[in-house]
């Protein structure tokens, strides 16, 4: 078909393409309408000051009983650790963020103190965390951690005694399910008395400081 323009250079077809290019550039720069946006998420709060990550039990009280199955499939009783301070933490092995962070903080604390300290990791996900799973998990930390599991009923009763809440969360198909759980670490002294309650984010330095307090 004959072009309407008899002059060399851009004709109507060119103009359309040039306009299209301009519109595309504008769209890519975000000034044109874009996909519907979700509300912006506020960044998480910064870590509070050192002193806010721990409370003391006042008055101190005997630690609740802790009788479950250890990572070697043997019966465990917290009373067997009398004579040394013990840190008790509830979590699960499929936890990618909170539990590894806390156990790393605990391991860091142990490196800062001279006295032997027991560390007991209790699962709130006994369906996946059987004794072999707990063994792989605690062995990885190479710090003598004890991993405890049990039946659903035993875990539920233990969690209730220690004031720990937990529930199953649906997650993505790849992740399977996750667990919501209390993220506190309990510090028991060498006499079996519950002395301190450490919150998630307590630094290795803070944990070590409290270990020295109860060991001293």
């Amino acid at each position: 078909m004959r072009s309407r323009s008899r002059q060399p250079g851009p004709g109507p077809g060119w103009l359309t393409l040039a306009l299209a290019a301009t519109v595309l550039l504008a769209a890519c720069s975000g000034t044109a309408g874009s996909a519907p946006t979700a509300p912006a998420r506020a960044p998480a709060a910064t870590t509070p000051a050192l002193g806010e990550r721990v409370t003391a039990y006042d008055p101190a009280r005997p630690a609740p009983a802790l009788r479950l199955t250890d990572q070697d499939g043997r019966p465990f009783d917290l009373a067997s650790l009398r004579g040394r301070p013990v840190l008790v933490y509830f979590g699960y092995t499929h936890c990618p963020d909170i539990c590894p962070t806390t156990l790393a903080d605990i391991r860091g604390a142990l490196r800062l103190v001279d006295e032997p300290v027991g560390v007991v990791f209790v699962t709130v996900d006994p369906a996946r965390d059987d004794a072999p799973a707990m063994k792989q998990y605690v062995d990885y930390y190479q710090s003598g951690f004890i991993g405890l599991t049990g039946s659903d009923a035993e875990i539920a009763a233990t969690a209730e005694d220690w004031g720990v809440s937990y529930r199953k969360l649906e997650s993505t198909p790849a992740a399977g399910y996750a667990m919501a759980h209390s993220t506190d670490t309990y510090l028991v002294d060498a006499e079996g008395t519950l002395r301190h309650h450490l919150f998630f984010g307590a630094s290795p330095e803070l944990i070590a400081e409290k270990i020295r307090v109860v060991a001293g």
């Binding site: 890519c28 975000g30 529930r167 399977g176």
Partner: protein, 163 residues
């Protein structure tokens, strides 16, 4: 073919190239308007036996429009997703003890405002590496590719270290 028509056809190709160029550069991280920078990226050491690992970083949006992290992949893991650890208030019915649980939820789309940043850190947003194919050992480096809505794909070399 008359010179004018030949010139028109050549020009047609040039404009087509301009269009393709506009799409490629305007919509990619090397363009002037969509620009994302990653700083302080690190992954926590983890045993391959563990079901998942985590990586953290700060994402800075230096572009002029909101961008969003919408996907990720890594040769180190079968699936890579973004999750957020949040405080979850009430215990399950019948449970006792403190509330104040924490749990994680998937994040399909993590928005970063223009000129702003989002921090992925323990207890908050994190990259979850699901189905680790190898141990993540302190001192190693793993590759993670992030996909942004506007800035496109960004490949990172992430050091594995104790946090």
């Amino acid at each position: 073919m008359n010179p004018a028509r030949r010139f028109s056809r050549l020009g047609g190709f040039l404009v087509a190239a301009l269009v393709v160029g506009a799409v490629a550069t305007g919509c990619s991280s090397s363009g002037g308007t969509a620009e994302v920078a990653i700083t302080d990226a690190w992954a926590r050491p983890s045993s391959a036996m563990a079901s998942a690992g985590a990586a953290y970083m700060t994402i800075q949006n230096n572009g002029t429009a909101t961008d969003a992290l919408v996907g990720a992949s890594s040769p180190a893991a079968t699936t890579v997703e973004v999750h957020e650890t949040v405080v979850m208030g009430s215990p399950a019915p019948g449970a006792s003890g403190d509330g104040g649980m924490m749990g994680m939820q998937p994040v399909e789309r993590l928005e970063i405002p223009a000129g702003g940043s989002v921090q992925l850190k323990p207890g908050s947003y994190h990259i979850m590496l699901i189905g680790l194919k190898e141990d993540l050992k302190a001192g190693d480096t793993i590759e993670i590719t992030l996909t942004f809505e506007k800035a496109g794909e960004l490949a990172l070399s992430v050091p594995v270290k104790e946090g």
